[in-house]
């Protein structure tokens, strides 16, 4: 009925196409996607709706099960609060709406069954490049209808634990160009409060940092090389940017840190203005 701020279909994205420059994409908070799918008995990477801050209002056309995950998002059925920690049974005609979270950014709504949605390069995920929507039908508009087919999904055989509460303590490893940070820059970046600033989006989080790089890094342009979600790059003017799922696939800025895979879900829930800190992890010895 209404679409919310930005409601998109997301799944595990398109990791097989990074060699032709297509971003990996997919749900930003993977643990939340997996958990919501497990509650309705779907395979963990079945598409979900990714809600952004303000969720949509939805009408259920035939009975079925849905589940919601994501920090502080809560569901209402026919304007009554329901327990959002378990699957929600809906009857035909029920109206599903969402309470906006006081913290966090993204919620995930799983709907029981196999999704009958358009896919591109093997994924149902919306992907926006500049002003292009490369899979426009994955961006939800008022009056769009989702069809699912029961029985088409093989449930995940293991128990999925609820994601831990999201935290603003982000763990990271040294990146390939960590040595280009001056000692003063390390002191500003590690174990110090950092704030997310605008513009931040599914491509990446910008920060209120001004870091100094070593002389050689300033004089010599780096040859572009692969980046991934969670890569911390430092731009020429010293700003640390943390890349997220829709970022480009290669980059020419020094990659000073790489966030731990389990911290990437927490990055997905940081808002502009939120403080966080980076903790340095050591690589295990091999």
């Amino acid at each position: 009925m209404t679409s919310g701020l930005r409601t998109t279909t997301q799944d595990a994205g398109r990791p097989e196409y990074t060699d032709i420059g297509v971003p990996i994409g997919g749900a930003l908070d993977r643990a939340a996607m997996h958990y919501a799918n497990s509650l309705v008995g779907n395979a963990l990477q079945t598409p979900v709706l990714e809600l952004t801050m303000t969720g949509p209002r939805l009408i259920c056309e035939s009975a079925g099960k849905v589940a919601l995950a994501g920090p502080q998002f809560a569901a209402r059925v026919n304007n009554q609060s329901v327990d959002s920690r378990q699957a929600i049974e809906l009857a035909a005609g029920d109206e599903l709406s969402f309470e906006s979270p006081t913290r966090g950014v993204r919620g995930y709504l799983a709907v029981e069954g196999a999704w009958r949605v358009k896919r591109w390069l093997g994924s149902a995920s919306a992907l926006r490049i500049g002003s292009y929507e490369l899979l426009a039908s994955a961006v939800w508009q008022a009056r769009d209808v989702l069809e699912t087919r029961s029985g088409g999904v093989i449930p995940w055989p293991t128990i999925v634990l609820p994601p831990p509460p999201s935290t603003s303590m982000i763990r990271a490893y040294r990146g390939p160009e960590y040595d280009r940070l001056k000692p003063s820059a390390v002191a500003q970046l590690i174990e110090r409060p950092i704030t997310v600033v605008a513009p931040s989006n599914r491509i990446g989080l910008r920060t209120d940092t001004a870091l100094s790089l070593t002389q050689s890094a300033q004089s010599k342009e780096m040859v572009s090389s692969g980046v991934q979600p969670g890569t911390v790059q430092v731009t020429h003017d010293g700003q640390a940017i943390i890349l997220l799922a829709d970022a480009q696939t290669i980059g020419g800025y020094p990659r000073v840190l790489q966030c731990a895979s389990r911290s990437i879900d927490d990055l997905a829930q940081l808002r502009v203005g939120d403080p966080f800190s980076l903790t340095l992890l050591d690589y295990p010895t091999h």
Binding site: P15, D19, I20, L121, G130, Y173, Q258, S261, H286
Partner: protein, 237 residues
């Protein structure tokens, strides 16, 4: 082959080749082998110039297993100049209405437009990497006399299918996009079409040459394209 393998976070390995003229063909050869043999648990492989980024699923494999698989593949990742690559001859229109940087380029490079176009079309280029935008090829092989600066302030909108140069590289914009490279021509086809089975026309390691055409020929090819009877198979060998 001289290559360093090291962890890049807890779910990726980065393979870096010694920077010489064998680095890019070696990176492409390793990428081809990785995609052909698809070792257990590999999620993505991203080749670029002198490196390959390999990400993996830690529930299916581990860094030490990926490292061991890469060491084995590197023994066989010999750059073969003709393996699996294509040579494209792309009709390209250098009309001033498309060459948005016609004047500044002539001024910066101290070349007439005719000799600039002739020099550009005499070289053969190679796709060293794809990125920035889906389907954007970074082309190596630009003649020394055409090395040029980027725009101080990038354009808000470079039209799709524009051919551009910056530094020692050439590129082709697959989509309308902001961009700071110097625009010298346009091609009559789209490099990236989400509706195609393989959406990107070019692939890493492909070779590309540009064939100058007139504005009338460009318009005629555009009509063929819009009516679905443009056969681009003739452009590739």
């Amino acid at each position: 082959m001289t290559a360093i393998i090291r962890p890049f976070g807890d779910t990726a390995a980065l393979v870096e080749f010694a920077s010489d003229d064998r680095a890019t063909p070696s990176a492409m050869a390793l990428n081809r082998l990785l995609r052909a043999e698809d070792p257990q648990g590999i999620v993505s492989t991203t080749p670029s110039y002198d490196s390959v980024l390999v990400t993996f699923d830690p529930t299916k494999t581990s860094y030490s297993k990926v490292h061991a698989a890469l060491v084995k593949l590197l023994e066989r990742a010999h750059p073969e100049p003709t393996a699996g690559e294509k040579l494209w001859s792309i009709p390209t229109c250098f009309d001033p209405s498309f060459a948005l940087d016609c004047d500044p380029l002539q001024h910066e490079l101290s070349l007439s437009w005719d000799s600039l176009v002739e020099t550009f079309c005499r070289s053969e280029y190679r796709v060293n990497a794809m990125g920035f935008l889906p389907g954007f090829p970074y082309l190596g092989g630009l003649a020394d006399t055409l090395h040029c600066s980027r725009m101080k302030t990038p354009r808000a909108r470079v039209p799709a299918s524009s051919v551009a140069i910056a530094g020692d590289q050439a590129g082709i914009y697959p989509l309308d996009s902001p961009g700071g490279w110097r625009i010298l021509a346009r091609i009559p086809i789209s490099l990236f079409n989400p509706e195609r089975q393989m959406p990107a026309l070019l692939a890493p390691n492909d070779r590309v040459s540009f064939l100058p055409i007139t504005l009338d020929e460009f318009t005629a090819l555009g009509h063929q394209r819009d009516h679905g009877d443009l056969d681009i198979r003739a452009w590739v060998s």
